[in-house]
């Protein structure tokens, strides 16, 4: 890859002094990309698109939002009713949060299936987990801003998690609140951080893409690019494929924004926050449900550690464990396509997270899918057990014991073979 020669004098003048145009050219134009990427590889760029959409809509919402407990709810209603196209901008932002998590969750599952976390992509994977954590913090604080019942009680419950830590717990929660309950100081600091975090995420995304471009994209075979025949330039092949994917995704996104804008939200958040009345069913937004289920499933004490602390630790561990899976996975093969045994465990894991999500939405004493005798809490405990067992037991053992299918010699060979079979 030699530096391209620019014909345009202005471009050349700038590029000679700051090679930003060459950099963009390398990374978004000629970046050699495996020729066999499936549509599963669209979700990274889609997530990037949603991030930009969230920042844009967020900036315009802030122009009309008032971060004060007396006026927050009213100012949001003013956006919905009086600001020109305010309802549209707010509904895009509201549903955009869900869309962001849909893209990122699929992106993560894709990485898990095709072994995209394995060497040499560990740092790339780590930055991705940091992005997920930053997104969760941002989404949580953003949900507090409309100052509805779920905002208030969600903030109360989640900040109270930190009181589980011995000794520092209570002072820590008071510090988070800036008072003795969730109140105006809490709302103000959440607003400040909610505005800051997206730019932190943006910075992490730049690092994520930088890391990606130095280790190159993984692909469905998990076999690295070996010869020029294995790859094609990013532009026009993947720019157009990403744009087509974006079109399909936007139809899905807009269906929610225009025809079911409140479907993913909770009706209680259209009731102004009331510190004296807790809604009967506090449920987090859908993207937190599996983690919420893990938190709640620990209702027992181990070695004198109280259930409350264990639950909080388990919930944090469910994400932190992702940092070490490059070493927990002992398989020499990346892609589950060539791992006949692990493949089943992967799908079991996907189903497990759905079950956790279901359990998170239900009251602990309900019956799981109405099955008599099977309490939600028990199902949540079993699913939590598998969640961790998948990483701590299945990954190391199956990697060692499994007989994998033969790998293709190269990406182009696998492509030719599939073409012949089709």
């Amino acid at each position: 890859m030699s530096a391209p020669q620019w014909n345009n004098k202005v471009v050349k003048w700038v590029d000679d002094r700051l090679p930003v145009i060459s950099m963009l050219h390398h990374s978004a134009y000629e970046y050699p990309t495996p020729k066999n990427l499936s549509y599963m590889w669209n979700f990274g760029s889609l997530a990037g698109f949603v991030l930009v959409t969230m920042i844009l809509t967020g900036i315009f919402l802030v122009m009309n939002y008032t971060p004060h407990t007396d006026m927050a709810f009213e100012s949001v209603e003013r956006i919905m009713r009086d600001v020109n196209h305010g309802w549209l901008i707010r509904y895009i932002h509201m549903n955009g949060a869900s869309m962001f998590f849909i893209c990122v969750f699929i992106h993560i599952f894709r990485g898990l299936y095709y072994g995209s976390y394995k060497a040499p992509r560990e740092v790339l994977w780590w930055i991705g987990i940091l992005i997920l954590l930053a997104m969760m913090a941002t989404a949580f604080m953003g949900y507090v801003l409309p100052w509805g019942q779920m905002s208030f009680w969600g903030a109360t419950v989640i900040t109270n998690l930190f009181s589980a830590f011995p000794i520092i717990g209570d002072p820590l929660v008071t510090w988070l609140w800036g008072g003795f309950s969730v109140d105006n100081p809490t709302l103000n600091r959440f607003f400040s951080l909610h505005y800051l975090m997206p730019f932190v995420i943006l910075g992490l995304v730049v690092l994520h893409v930088w890391a990606l471009h130095s280790v190159r994209s993984n692909n469905p075979t998990g076999v690295e690019i070996k010869t020029p025949q294995d790859s094609i330039p990013f532009h026009p092949y993947y720019t157009i494929k990403d744009l087509f994917g974006l079109g399909v995704f936007l139809i899905f996104f807009c269906a929610f924004v225009f025809f079911a804008p409140d479907y993913l939200g909770h009706p209680d958040n259209y009731i102004p926050a009331n510190p004296l009345v807790t809604p009967p069913h506090i449920v987090p937004e859908w993207y937190f449900l599996p983690f919420y289920a893990i938190l709640r499933s620990i209702d027992f004490t181990i070695l004198g550690i109280p259930a409350k602390l264990l639950g909080v630790l388990a919930m944090f561990a469910s994400i932190v464990i992702l940092f070490v899976i490059p070493w927990l996975d002992t398989s020499k093969v990346r892609s589950s396509k060539f791992r006949p045994v692990y493949k089943w465990f992967f799908w079991l894991f996907v189903i497990d997270t759905f079950i956790l999500g279901y359990c998170g939405a239900k009251a602990p004493d309900d019956y799981f899918m109405g099955i008599p005798g099977l309490k939600v809490i028990v199902m949540g405990q079993l699913s939590t057990l598998y969640y961790f067992a998948h990483f701590l037991v299945v990954m190391p053992l199956v990697g060692k014991l499994e007989r994998t299918k033969p790998l293709p010699a190269s990406i182009s060979e696998s492509v030719l073979k599939e073409g012949a079979n089709a």
Binding site: P32, N64, N84, H85, I89, P228, Q229, S231, I232, L243
Partner: protein, 183 residues
Amino acid sequence: MSQTVHSSGDHQPDENRRDFLTLATTAVGVVGTGVALWPFVDSMNPSKDVLALASVEVNLANIPVGQAVKVMWRGKPVFIRHRTEREINEANEVALNELVDPQADDARVEKKEWLIVVGVCTHLGCIPMGTATGEARGDYDGWYCPCHGSHYDTSGRIRRGPAPKNLEVPTYTFLTDTTVRIG
């Protein structure tokens, strides 16, 4: 790094079709993106609740001859002056060609005795003095802007100083003899 996609020659008609298709798609995409930005721009225009307050009604019965009041309208002061006979004459006596921004007094008032102007200096937006009794009214008995020394006459017209235009006359209607709706 890449492989060649088309050999030129055999694919000529297809090449044209692809070019047209790509061009058309790009055009549709660009137009769509442009239209999608409009709601954001529009959201910065005055909102419906702001527009709903865009007119005020003022009771004139309590303003004696020779005095003036300031009322708030769209976040700006409006000067309402109950002019004396002498002030009306002063406004009408001046020859139009002497004026910086020539405009007859008739064109600026609906009823001779009531002068209603937006109280924002047309130079850089300060509020001229001269409404409250006892304030300096400048060399032409109207208003005087302390920021950069613009003098306005009894019709609110600029007579001297850096301001380029006369004080703006808002749209207003007399609902009765003593009530006026501004805006």
